[in-house]
Amino acid sequence: MTVLVLLAAGGFGAGVFGSLLGLGGGILIVPLLTFGFGLPFREAVGVSLVCVIVTSSAAAGVYLERHLANLRLGMLLEVFTASGALVGGLVAFLLPDRVLAGLFAILLAYTGVTMLRRGATAARSGAGLAEPGEDPAGPADTPGAFRAALAGPGYRPARLGAGIGGSVFAGLVSALLGVGGGIVKVPLMHLVMGVPLRVATATSNLMIGVTAAASAIVYLMRGGIDPLVAGPTAVGVFAGATLGSRVAQRLDLRLLRLLFVAVLALTAIQMTLRALG
């Protein structure tokens, strides 16, 4: 009973923080389950993928209703994120836990640095968001007709080749480490393909569900998802993410971001120690 409540509470906390800071819960759930509850790394990844799908489906519905997500661009890229995730799901069962923990430590460090940079950008610009219609990737380099079909109001995605390659990588990362992969997809779409940040964030969220589902199927069929752990954690994450999305506008996130980066740094150190045995 106590463990069940603690799992749900941990999931709730991960959902709130993830939602407030614009991350999927995966980056928090895997350390929570491995360090907090002693689960093997691969089992924690399987549960995390389930939680990531729940939060993605809930958030993507809202983004689509507000017409912020680019369904066509998402559909193109998720062919490749799902392919990467399929391969990643298979590779994950071949790699030792220590290697996965080492990779996760690298992801944590990268996420921490990205969040610090994002905080600095937001402080300078006031919002940190690209303006509608701005095209940071510069002139497009792909033929018109297909790219036009992927265009949204005021922007047209550029460098589709790079976007496709990056999407395969995002799928691999998601499947190996149990995260949504937004930390790869959002910068890829925004900085490389010239998609406005708000659209990139919404479209990434839309794609996360399918990406995680491709690898979660592999985990599920190979006995890598524990329903008794996944149930309370996913319900907690859903409740936390719902609450977080409602209060995010009213909170000053600067202190929270710094606190979160500190937590990421500590977790990265622990993961590194685990990787080194």
């Binding site: 489906s57 912020l68 066509r72 399918v210 329903p227």
Partner: protein
Amino acid sequence: MTVTAPDGVGVIESRAAALDGWIALVLRAGTLLSVGLLAIGVVLMSLAGRSPLDATWPALDLGRIPGDLLALRPEGFLWLGLLATLSTPLLRVAASVVGFLGLGERRMAGLGSAVLVVIALAVVVAKGTQA
């Protein structure tokens, strides 16, 4: 006809906007169903006094789920909730394919079908490599 998107992102065609709304509905319904089933499973697990970390977990056996549901056993609701969770994004893709066909966008429908083929491949490969 066009529809204004919020937050200054611009305008989109009304038929595309309708497709977004329809797919959002699929996602919302799928999420509520999944979380509802998982929540029932968690409550039943709590009532039964079972701890998630006590023992090895019950294997997925599709044939057992109806019996577990009728007997109000937590594993039936948890497995069905997990299957609904995994199916929700796939239903979203399937709904998109139907929607794109309705809009006459065959290329986009093809891309959606390609996503479903990758997922089907995941099932086949996972089954073929099961321990």
